[in-house]
């Protein structure tokens, strides 16, 4: 598999509260593929994901060194606007977090803050992205209802639609199915698989079977270190590092 990188992480080291959480990570994340970050809990998967859209709050005690390039642009360059970086990426969190507004407004929130005012155009954006997230048919008659009334699985797809509505290039998923029932999980997985046609997808998961189902590219993190990465079929078939082998066989988890 020839890699066209969309995100390049170079020598990324992250300290949180003086603890080193990520250690000298270097990896290219391929364009329009699903990259799955696997590893035991507490290994820094979520931190790595959050560092991609600068959600690691500089107000907390966080120290970051190294570079992350998105489309060749250094996102930690002081001149780079953080809102511009985040607009490029949609985020799905572990538990879907609806905003305190209607279903419609949840999706329209992003486009509105980025300057879309025209009601007709917003209607179209909302419909289009709810369809893209596979939620439109379930909610088209209740767009004015509070978003929290949706089931958790529907809320996760709403969050997907909300993230897609700001027209990102990248979708980040932080264990996006961990709070969902099997059927909703499957639904979200299917969406992600469809979306990789147009988007670069990065998903963190601790579920190996899920990784096997959706991954094109795998990164294995262990104790803050990037142990191994490569095309999914290669890593799963022939893990090079003994730690990867141990993780894949379930010896460490």
């Amino acid at each position: 598999m020839k890699i066209r990188p969309h995100i390049s992480i170079k020598n990324l080291t992250v300290y949180i509260d003086q603890q080193r959480v990520l250690k000298d990570i270097t990896i290219d994340i391929p364009d329009r593929k699903i990259t799955v970050i696997i590893g035991p809990s507490g290994c820094g998967k979520t931190t790595l994901l959050k560092s991609l859209n600068r959600l690691l709050d500089p107000l907390d005690d966080v120290k970051i060194s190294g570079k992350i390039l998105v489309d060749g642009e250094d996102i930690y360059d002081p001149k780079t606007e953080v809102t511009h970086i985040r607009k490029k990426m949609g985020l799905l969190s572990q538990r879907p977090q609806a905003l305190p507004m209607s279903i419609y407004d949840n999706v329209a929130y992003g486009p509105r803050i980025h300057g879309h005012k025209d009601k007709k155009k917003l209607d179209k954006i909302v419909e289009q992205h709810l369809k893209l997230a596979g939620l439109w048919d379930e909610v088209k008659d209740r767009l004015a209802e509070p978003a929290w009334r949706l089931s958790v699985g529907q809320q996760q797809r709403l969050c997907l639609a909300r993230g897609l509505a700001v027209e990102p290039e990248i979708i980040l998923g932080d264990e996006p199915t961990s709070a969902l029932d099997p059927q909703s999980s499957q639904n979200v997985e299917r969406r992600l698989a469809e979306l990789k046609k147009d988007y670069t997808v990065v998903v963190v998961t601790h579920i190996l079977r899920q990784a096997k189902r959706i991954a094109d590219y795998i990164a294995f993190l262990y104790l803050g270190e990037l142990v191994e990465h490569g095309p999914a079929e290669e890593v799963f078939a022939n893990p090079v590092d003994p730690r990867t082998r141990a993780y894949l066989t379930g010896e460490i988890s």
């Binding site: 859209n53 907390d60 511009h84 985040r86 977090q97 305190p100 993230g163």
Partner: protein, 292 residues
Amino acid sequence: MTLPLTKRRSIHRKVEEGVFKVLMVASMVIVVGCLVLILGTIIWKGLPALSLAMVTQTPKGGYYLGREGGILNAIMGSLYLASGATLLALVFSLPVVLFINLYRRKNSRLAEWTRFSFDVLWGIPSIVYGAFGFIVMVFLGLRASLLAGIFTVALLEFPIMSRAMDEVIRLVPRSLLDASYSLGATRLETAFQVVVRQCLPGILTAVLIAFGRGIGDAASVLFTAGFTDRLPTSLFQPAATLPLAIFFQLGTPFPEVQERAYASAVVLTAMILLISLLARGLVKKSTRHIIK
């Protein structure tokens, strides 16, 4: 014969539960009882003296001796003064609270010190605020006026409103903020479009608590807003207030005027009740979207 340990333990727990339930109910009865007693006294003593003239007329000559007139001057004065002060306090406390919660690290030193100073300010007696307002007035060469009263009462309301608001806004989960940030929203957009929405009932409660405190306070307006028998027409004229009207009427030696003081208290209480209900009704519609 002694009972087995688990059995004894279970009896013990049952007794414990019962005793504390009785204590709670007793506290409840005492608190609610006091409230009913206070309100009852005011209504019982004030209602007979309450008349249409009282709420539609200003004091005529000799009102405080028991002659014709009403307390419309104080009703309007209090409304203007407390509304102005509450608005002013809100304009300052919302930004302060949003700042320490969204723009600073969680539990930053600045936030802790701000909270601490609010707590201290909360405890300062209102007469001290009045004296402070008076000193500033004298320094600026102003006389007692509605505007001076508004500023002083706003000072009095500010720490109360801020602290109450802070308690709800600091509970907003980080994940909600992140959801907004990750869409490319700025802190400001997140503050006003997400946090304020989510916390609207709490913010309203804070505003109402402060409003209630402001409209009911006599000492802070004594020197700063002054008192007049006329309706307030300008920010730079003195204005009457209900707490002072009650105070003056109670201070007369005439029982019929004292009864009017209780009637004025009924009016004040009714006003607070009405405004609270109105405000709650107004935000009711926008609270249905709040994430539970």
